[in-house]
């Protein structure tokens, strides 16, 4: 396998030009995430409405291409979805990274699916799985209002 499978064009693009990398307007939840091994850091901002729908979501932070791309892709994918749906997507995503299964959730459009799948190369790089999941865990922390920093271990 080629290293290009890890660094697919979509990943590189999101890594270099991350979407929603800012403090989004009117957020009502936020949380910080930290990967102590690499030093990757993210701060996720979420605007949840009363029905627990993600009205808006954004992030700030710095880290490797995988962590930035993953955060960027996450914000794009989740925006406008119910929190519960977002959680299911995360589960699906984790399975993909850990067991190599395909994304199989029908709440994703084909485009969203393709974008998520661009991170599938990570599964061959166990040490990088944490980079790919940091933003997601941090989002859950934010949405569930946990106090501590999300730490990938």
């Amino acid at each position: 396998m080629d290293i290009k499978e890890l660094y697919q064009e979509i990943v590189l693009d999101h890594g270099k030009n991350p979407r929603n990398k800012k403090k989004c307007h009117g957020f009502n939840k936020d949380a910080k995430g930290h990967n102590p091994l690499c030093g990757d850091k993210v701060h996720v901002f979420v605007k949840l409405d009363k029905e627990k729908k993600v009205e808006d979501i954004s992030f700030e932070g710095e880290g490797c291409a995988i962590s930035m791309a993953s955060a960027s892709i996450m914000t794009e994918t989740i925006k406008g979805k119910e929190f519960n749906v977002a959680k299911k997507i995360l589960e699906n995503f984790l399975n993909m990274l850990k067991e190599g299964s395909k994304m199989s959730i029908n709440s994703l459009t084909e485009d969203e699916n393709t974008t998520m799948m661009s991170l599938s190369g990570v599964k061959r790089f166990p040490m990088r799985v944490k980079c790919a999941t940091l933003a997601w865990h941090t989002f859950i922390h934010a949405a569930e209002g946990k106090e501590e920093t999300a730490v990938t271990e």
Binding site: P36, C38, R128, E153
Partner: protein
């Protein structure tokens, strides 16, 4: 899988060697046990094929090494039935494990006039660290009395508990008298008053079935080199609720979260307690010790050692120049003794001529020896590879002592 003792013993390369021209009869297991081939080979293999510093690099070797290392944590968690892997901290030895608790718990929870409850049976490793605290904080150490049989009754502990008692720190199995403490009872007693209990499990872990959730203690210190494992590794088991509130112990790389010039933050356990480059190869090697013990089966180890212990006591008692130190009802595989008119060091030297390795001295238990009215004793302590024949050689070697000294 059933294994007879001969098969088990054949897995320990050391027994292929001769000591003073004799077969090695190793009866110094309470000090440190011998290592099976699987452990020795695992270490060699790790250095030859997989070595890298762990947890700090992203390259393949580091990833593999980290996984192997963390695998041992999982195995240990499972073996002692801890609730989570975060409760398993690797230390340099059991002594460090106890120092870690005394230092961090002491810093946070012990003040002048507070009481630390230990027993007269304790190994220096479970007294000296508390002594430091006594000096630093003006705390008080109380010693629960041990009786002539070498037992500490629960009542002796009970009557020393006051509302100043901040921690109870006791051995699981005395490394001199072999007495097995009723840990569960003591924990029950202590938890009524919300007093945490530290168990020095150095002699417990290799010889007893240990289950943290059944024992219920707050801390448990383990010496891996007494569990057929490599030197340089100990384990501190601690309930997560303690690890969450206690301060870090040693500072350095790998145990920090964010470092600034005016402040430093720390991650959770076990990271917080594992500073610097760890004993990577040793911890990886220790995984094979756990597997070895599981393969043989701790029940079988206990049963076998009990058989040899009983035979040993029976044989040695026949010699009326011998005094056995303590006679506890609930006893692990340790026989400490003296011979009338012969100093323990002389005993050890004479036995050594016959290839019999025992320990002579105070076994790091001066308080107990003083209590028993002796300065030193000889100690035979068993492991899975010992046999009745070993005891026979021991007995006849003891007779030789009598002969040399005309006693």
């Amino acid at each position: 899988m059933f294994m007879d003792i001969k098969t088990i013993k054949s897995q320990f390369p050391i027994f292929k060697n001769k000591i003073n021209g004799k077969s090695l009869i190793y009866l110094d297991n309470a000090n440190s046990s011998q290592k099976p081939k699987c452990v020795i080979d695992r270490i060699s293999k790790f250095y030859s094929k997989e070595f890298s510093n762990i947890g700090r690099s992203v390259h393949s070797l580091a990833v593999t090494a980290t996984n192997r290392f963390e695998e041992t944590r999982d195995l240990m968690k499972e073996y002692i039935n801890a609730k989570s892997r975060e409760e398993i901290i690797f230390t340099k030895n059991a002594t460090e494990a106890i120092n870690l608790v005394a230092s961090t718990f002491g810093e946070k929870f012990i003040n002048s006039g507070d009481e630390i409850l230990i027993t007269e049976l304790e190994h220096h490793a479970n007294y000296v660290p508390w002594h430091f605290l006594r000096k630093k904080k003006g705390a008080i150490i109380k010693f629960a009395k041990c009786n002539d049989k070498g037992e500490v009754n629960v009542d002796e502990i009970k009557k020393l508990i006051t509302n100043k008692t901040k921690i109870i720190s006791i051995t699981h199995l005395s490394n001199v008298t072999g007495y097995i403490m009723p840990i569960k009872e003591i924990v029950d007693l202590a938890s009524e008053k919300k007093i945490p209990v530290l168990v020095d499990g150095c002699q417990g872990a290799p010889h007893l079935e240990i289950d943290m959730q059944k024992l219920g203690c707050d801390f448990y210190a383990i010496s891996c080199h007494k569990m057929y494992g490599p030197t340089g590794v100990g384990v501190l088991y601690a309930k997560k609720k303690w690890l969450d509130v206690l301060p870090p112990y040693q500072g350095g790389g790998g145990m920090i979260e964010e470092v600034k010039k005016d402040s430093i933050t720390f991650p959770g356990s076990p990271t917080k307690y594992e500073a610097g480059t760890l004993q990577t190869a040793e911890v990886v090697g220790f995984s094979e010790s756990i597997r070895f013990i599981k393969d043989v089966g701790i029940k079988k180890i206990m049963q076998h050692e009990k058989e040899i212990l009983e035979y040993g006591l029976e044989q040695i008692k026949k010699n009326n120049t011998v005094r056995i130190i303590g006679d506890p009802k609930n006893r692990g595989s340790i026989i400490s003794f003296t011979i009338k008119g012969i100093h323990p060091h002389d005993i050890a030297t004479i036995l050594d001529e016959d290839g019999v390795a025992i320990r002579a001295g105070h076994h790091c238990c001066q308080i107990l020896h003083e209590k028993m009215g002796i300065a030193a004793s000889a100690r035979a302590s068993l492991g899975i590879y010992n046999t009745k024949e070993d005891i026979d050689v021991l007995s006849s070697s003891i007779k030789k002592c009598n002969k040399v000294f005309n006693t």
